[in-house]
Amino acid sequence: MPLSGAGPGRSFVLDNGLQVFLYEKHDLPLVHIVIGFNVGSKDESEATNGLVHLLEHCILFRGSTTRTGAQVTTDIRRHGAYFNGHTGQDLAVFEISLPSAEIEFALCNQRDILFNLALSQADIDAEKRVILEEYSQMEDDPERSATSLVLQGLFPGHPYGRSVMGRREVVEAATSRSLGDFYRKYVVADNGAMAVVGDFAASDIEVRIRDIFGALPKTGFEPEAVPMAPPLKKSSSQRLERDVREGYLYIAFTAPDYNSPDQYAMSLLVEALGRGVNPMLGGYLHSQRDSVQSVTMSYLPFRFGGAAVLSVRADPRDLPAVERAAEDFLKRAGNQNYSKKDVLGPEAEMAAFDYLEMAKNQIRFASAQAEESGLQLAGSLVRHMLLNARPDPGRYLDGIEKVDSSALRKAAGRYFGKGEYAAISIVPIKEKDR
């Protein structure tokens, strides 16, 4: 989620192009550092799908030119650090969180693992096996696998239609050369951004960051053009059988990208329709089928497209009917009343529920909560630095406040009205197939 306010932060760009945001947060003696790069599954081809994810693992766990992977993890532990990385459609990010007294170690450690990677074939082969286990773990998890598959179904033919984790055969065949090509091209200062959040004095840390990261070269990196994801032309529905006891239904619609002016309306729309205590779509689906246990919507704004994903848990026998009901409701979402102001007459206004106000409060609450977690805050800052293409986007919450119910209806009509979507159902294995 984008930041709710400027807060006690400062930003600057090093001469080599690395963007930096420092945010003081003094409630706990911790510091959180997230460094991200503008590289994700969008930058892969069919032949390289999976290399960014493999690269992320190697950077984290397989050492640098100065330390082995085992030495890095020993150092990490000695300093009481949490240490992780994530690969997505757009970005690869690396995070470390530790006591604020250890900030010097954290900065030096991240510089070392990110910019001094040693890629031996033996280390790559070792990490491949771990990644293949991660594939299996994801396939056993109905929610993770459904999310991945429904996004692949939403973007056929577009780079976002590739799996973030990649193809097994690509990972199995990866070499130090193929991975090295990716590393040298993308993991460079002028393709990166860093956020430091926590208990420190920004003026002191700025000096240290300039010392530690300032000497990295500027490579003249130019991102390759990625086309905007087109709207889905034809709906698709896929059904998988797994060893589960409930039915899982995931439906994805095309949604606005990270820089679209529609992003605020879509953020509010998914809150009104599918989040909170009793959202509109949740209430409707419950009324259609008693077996519906949970209804959730989320909005995933990417740099070159977006997705609104509905997830439902229900009796597997009811999933086809729930899918039809959701499709029908969302097609009509452009005609709904979202605010008390949409109804005429004082009595009607008294009786109507203000979903728009609820959605705005939910986003304000979520934004406030996000400021409690330093790592989450640092991740949001890095994401914004790397994905934002607007010269002056303003405060996120100001954009949210300006949205009225008419904008919600327009967004609903534009993104849900045509009724094209990708769906995945995960249901229990039939006894006869066991």
Partner: protein
């Protein structure tokens, strides 16, 4: 640290009076030495409200939000035999809102009501923007103190439990945890199924729920936790005014429940999955903070990410993506589970490697460097896990339930710093005795392991 992984005490041989005894033991007296400094900048403070109920208040101005928790003693430990799921159903029903208008009030303000139920307590939690606290408390307190215990609502809560049980069933870590506690506590109390089984949920009726709520929701058995950006003087009257109807009463006695190794020490649960979960459980003593400190260090030595003992099964032996250790404290003992998830064809290999790792820790000595690193990991892990207000509320509440009071977290950290190398190595030798391990496997039965893709049916529309 996971909320369910910390519990407490051998001194509480008979926990008569639910929380009453614990609240009394947690109160510092003038003769005691001052508690060690809390890891947070603002210290949580315990006092008694005008309505006679204790509260633990901590100010945190990092965000304009407030989290209020009503902690209720008992949890799974108070569930009678054959009524598995009763504690969770009875807590969930406190959140049933009978009035559509009240639902809308909470919805409009984005106020969140939730509940948790663990081994020794359950809690109802209210989270809101602080500007809406007055209204949130007014609505929440009304339904929590005067729940509508109709057959229809009990039936709805029972349906929810069945759904939650199905969700747990797809998570091998939850499945393993539940099976291990079930085996160590004979399927009763701590070992009862949190969400019940088909049979026990069917057996629970409105009177069971009503009785449970009446026994649990009394002043000597509850306390409040509060994390807020408001001053205590501003928020205290709101709580006192809203929660003025919790009755007095005499808490029911809950017998101490000690874990015992079952006759069958090799549990196997069949699942048609691509991975097999392999775990080992050990019972840890819990006679006070020193035991908790050593148990927490053991959990950290084994798990908590890169560089841990179990990490070698991933980084070097390439057996798994996920390896970890989890520790559940009850009032009587700690239950440590070390586990990994491996390819379905490698279960036996993973089990042997896990045994080897645990035995290596037991027989080989932990070094001073390793102990020092583990201390750092424990301290920063607690700080990180208590950064968000809601998580901090649950952690402080748990320590209160365990009889350690609001200064319990600081006490644990001080005890961790005080653990010496010899003492820890002696503890590991006893705690990880392989003859006293409970083994578990969740995955395909050995005779049916074949490499196959999940069943897929595609439909183009």
């Amino acid at each position: 640290m996971k909320p369910r992984t910390n519990r407490a005490g051998k001194w509480a041989v008979l926990i008569a009076g639910g929380l009453a005894l614990l609240l009394a033991t947690a109160r510092p007296s003038a003769a005691q030495s001052p508690p060690p400094p809390a890891p947070w900048k603002n210290i949580p403070v315990r006092a008694t409200l005008g309505n006679g109920i204790p509260w633990i208040y901590q100010k945190d101005a990092i965000s304009p939000t407030t989290v209020v928790g009503l902690f209720i003693g008992g949890g799974k430990s108070a569930v009678p035999a054959g009524l598995d799921g009763l504690a969770a159903i009875s807590t969930r029903i406190l959140l049933e809102i009978p009035d559509e208008g009240k639902v809308q009030d909470l919805m409009a303000q984005a106020t969140r009501l939730s509940y948790v139920c663990y081994e020794d307590y359950s809690a109802v939690i209210v989270e809101c923007l602080t500007e809406h606290l007055d209204e949130a408390l007014r609505v929440a307190a009304k339904i929590i103190q005067d729940p509508l215990l109709s057959g229809l609502r009990v039936g709805r809560a029972k349906d929810l439990m069945k759904a939650y049980a199905k969700m747990d069933d797809v998570d091998p870590v939850a499945t393993g945890h539940n099976a291990i506690l079930g085996a160590l506590f004979g399927g009763r109390g701590y070992g009862s199924a949190l969400y019940g089984t088909e049979a026990t949920v069917a057996a629970i009726d409105r009177k069971d729920v009503s009785g449970f709520v009446k026994r649990a929701m009394i002043k000597p058995n509850v306390f409040f936790g509060l994390q807020t950006d408001l001053e205590a003087a501003a928020v205290r009257p709101l709580i006192e005014k809203a929660f003025d109807a919790i009755p007095d009463g005499t808490p029911a006695a809950v017998d101490r429940q000690d874990p015992a190794l079952p006759e069958n020490r090799d549990l196997a649960i069949d699942k048609d999955t691509k991975q097999t979960y392999v775990g080992r459980a050990h019972i840890l003593p819990r006679a006070g903070l020193p035991d908790m400190a050593k148990g927490t260090l053991l959990e950290t030595l084994l798990g908590n990410g890169p560089g841990s003992r179990l990490w070698a099964l991933r980084a070097d032996e390439r057996l798994a993506y996920e390896v970890d250790a989890e520790l559940t404290w009850t009032k009587s003992a700690g239950i440590l589970i070390a586990f990994l998830k491996t390819d379905r064809t490698r279960g036996a290999e993973a089990a042997a490697a896990l045994d080897r790792t645990l035995d290596g820790l037991r027989t080989g000595s932990v070094t001073e460097d390793e102990l020092k690193a583990s201390r750092e990991m424990v301290r920063s892990g607690i700080l990180r896990s208590t950064e968000p207000k809601a998580q901090r509320l649950r952690t402080i509440g748990l320590y209160q339930v365990l009889g350690l009071g609001p200064e319990g977290v600081a006490g644990l950290l001080a005890a961790v710093d005080a653990v010496g190398l010899e003492d820890l190595n002696a503890f590991l030798k006893e705690a990880l005795d392989p003859a006293r391990a409970l083994r578990i496997k969740v995955g395909p039965p050995a005779g049916e392991i074949v490499k196959e893709e999940p069943h897929v049916r595609s439909v183009r529309r």
